[in-house]
Symmetry: C2
Subunit: 477 residues, 2 copies
Amino acid sequence: MVAPKEFLDFVDNNADAFIQRLGEAVAIKSISGDPACRPEVFKMMNWVAQKFESVGVEVQQVDLGKHIMDGQELQLPNAVLGRIGNDPKLRTVLCYAHADVQPANVSDGWDTDPFTLTIQENGKLVGRGSTDDKGPLLGWLNVLQYHYDNKKPLPVNLRFCFEGMEESGSEGLDELVVRESKPGGWFEGVDCVCISDNYWLNTSTPVLTYGLRGLAYYKLNVSGPARDLHSGVFGRTVHEPMTDLIRLMNTLVDVNGKILIPGVDDMVMAADVEERKLYEALDYSIKDVEQSAGAPIALSDDKVEVLMGRMRMPSLSLHGIEGAFYGSGAKTVIPAKVSGKFSIRLVPPQTPENVLPFVQKHVDSEWAKLGSKNKFELEELHGGKPWVTDINHWNFQAGKAATRAVYNKEPDMTREGGSIPVTLTFAEALGVSVMLLPMGRGDDGAHSTNEKLDRSNFIEGTKLLGTYLYEVAAIAN
Amino acid sequence: MVAPKEFLDFVDNNADAFIQRLGEAVAIKSISGDPACRPEVFKMMNWVAQKFESVGVEVQQVDLGKHIMDGQELQLPNAVLGRIGNDPKLRTVLCYAHADVQPANVSDGWDTDPFTLTIQENGKLVGRGSTDDKGPLLGWLNVLQYHYDNKKPLPVNLRFCFEGMEESGSEGLDELVVRESKPGGWFEGVDCVCISDNYWLNTSTPVLTYGLRGLAYYKLNVSGPARDLHSGVFGRTVHEPMTDLIRLMNTLVDVNGKILIPGVDDMVMAADVEERKLYEALDYSIKDVEQSAGAPIALSDDKVEVLMGRMRMPSLSLHGIEGAFYGSGAKTVIPAKVSGKFSIRLVPPQTPENVLPFVQKHVDSEWAKLGSKNKFELEELHGGKPWVTDINHWNFQAGKAATRAVYNKEPDMTREGGSIPVTLTFAEALGVSVMLLPMGRGDDGAHSTNEKLDRSNFIEGTKLLGTYLYEVAAIAN
Ligand SMILES: [Zn+2]
Ligand SMILES: [Zn+2]
Ligand SMILES: [Zn+2]
Ligand SMILES: [Zn+2]
């Protein structure tokens, strides 16, 4: 059962209208991280609710309560739940996307107003949220539009979970997902989940994503003097917290990315020949990573090593130091209390819980070696487990079949180096297969200036989402 | 020739008036580092000029031109030059002080308004500039007041150099000093210089200061990616500038303050038994340094080691990192360009010029060892030479005699760990002995909250400055 040709034609014929509707969505400044924009996020969620209602979806906005941001108490944006279809003979697919966006100002370096969708001659649709994640969200709406306008039955039952806080930690969403996954909830009976909120590896080959790294974030707090000291008066008379901290931070990772905390890299089994072949097969080159980083700084000339470094190995990054001098110029301060920030991206079987003892033991032992009279403590900040799922599940077979049908290509099977925490929440709360089915390309610049979605990715991506639903319906259990 | 008893009595009898006048000076918010306060600095210099004129000093305000601060062009505060006495049979003493102050806000943690001199019951005169450096500047005015009111001749010819930019790099002053030291200039014929702008080692023993450390300030610039990267996407795929920088910074100094750059510590001869005795003799304990640092973090339990660490050894402090994440919270950024800031406090024979090659060679060699594909450069920021002078000069003999006369104590002979760059300028431009004769105590908190000058230090300090002039006149060449 492939998607009907009428559906594919409908999408092509309505492309301009779909793009105009994406422009409407981009024009709403739904920046979840800016308290001043909170009314715009509410407006955005209303817009989403109204659009999905207009194509026959039963919709409910859910109050997620309040939270504190920048010292003020704010109402969280409503989540939008939706359902259409209740045929027990059909599979039920849950689709997730988010309607909030990252901040954007022309002064950041945008060539055009970030909240006016600009259609370039090369087919790029430039605007904040175009690819992250309003384009994919509207992809589902476009699919529904065909079925509603043409009174065609959907091949599956659909459930929707749209949020307005993804860019600000998805506050309140985990509780909602857990609650609605229980009997009687909106997600009861869901057979699989499809999330469209990530990207292709490159600019030409579609991907299905089956893994995400987790995260463990740490602070190394070193303190000594009661207040900042003058380096003229105190230099070489007291133990300086910065000196101690730099020596500790130096013991965490080497220049080639190898994690120096004993035991952490060892938790992950080395890839065997078979697994290396998976990475060898990906449409990817060292040029791709260097192009996206903007400099020839790849850790290896071997694409398999670089890909495994991102996808199936943990990584440790040093982010910065809180409490030290950070301005321009030449301040001669001895900072009294400094906190080194670093995080480890985790892969199975690592979790924040099972990695912590290794980190604690290592930093305690390195600290003891220093013999400083300053004070030290390790502080663990937020974290999240990694996620990897079975790529042989029918959910992924459907994704592959849909990709072949729309793009005439075999999709690359990828794991992401970053985290989308709600993925794991869905997987654990529902106990079903979750697949990430991205719409955009690797160079879309989500979170960056001049974020874009290619017109072809929006239009073919809409076809992909629709075709995927038909393939889910077609593939036998 | 000791100071006349009438002078000492006059100071005691006029103590309250002197303190009230200090209150007038403190009330003028002459913060040289705050462009909004620039008119107050001008007002302060006018006030100084007018007060010194009122006691018979010939005064000239000198326009030092313009400079750029916080992106705006500003007129530099005038310097105030003064002279009184032209008797070729008398020695000529040049006195330096500054009338500008550090910023201060109640919100920084002051217990009282920083610009209202508050007289505490314990005798502390609390206010911004009380000890740094309005108290000492007014000390000279108090001395002149006695001679003017009582029509007493001064024992020496006096020259004054007062500035309003000391806390902001003394811009324009070096050129002025060099110019006025030439024949026909205001400082022609000066036999010695006295600067009152530092502090006792502790709270009970007066000091004469004969040395200052110099400074060489460096930036280690490491750059790689074209923009900040997401650690999820790029962690363990590219060389991270922060990792490289931390490894470089780790090679500079050890936890015990030893400088690890080969050759730098070696430039300074070890102290022999005789020199160690100088430090052994100082009225100072490990408790003193730990009290002023606010924690038991001294590098050694041996007071001689700690004192030599501050006074006669170079020190290297790591100040911070520009370009890295410095906020609170948990940002998962890979910064694209980071600059590690560190400085070395220099002692003779070190200079910024002769230390630079050691630093350059070391960081270049350490960078090469790393084998990173990122880019690195060493950048040298401002610097200044150290200064040490002969403590057997008659200028210091006069200082010692005055201290004995006023405090009934032998002064501690100290070197300061910090820098007062104008000291070296005077020494080099005039080729005469410069002595630092501080008024305040080691716990005065210059540059900190609740800055204070003890009433007894202001009053006895005034006697000390006056007595010093009489001793200069008395001691044979
Ligand atoms: Zn997103
Ligand atoms: Zn995003
Ligand atoms: Zn000062
Ligand atoms: Zn000062």
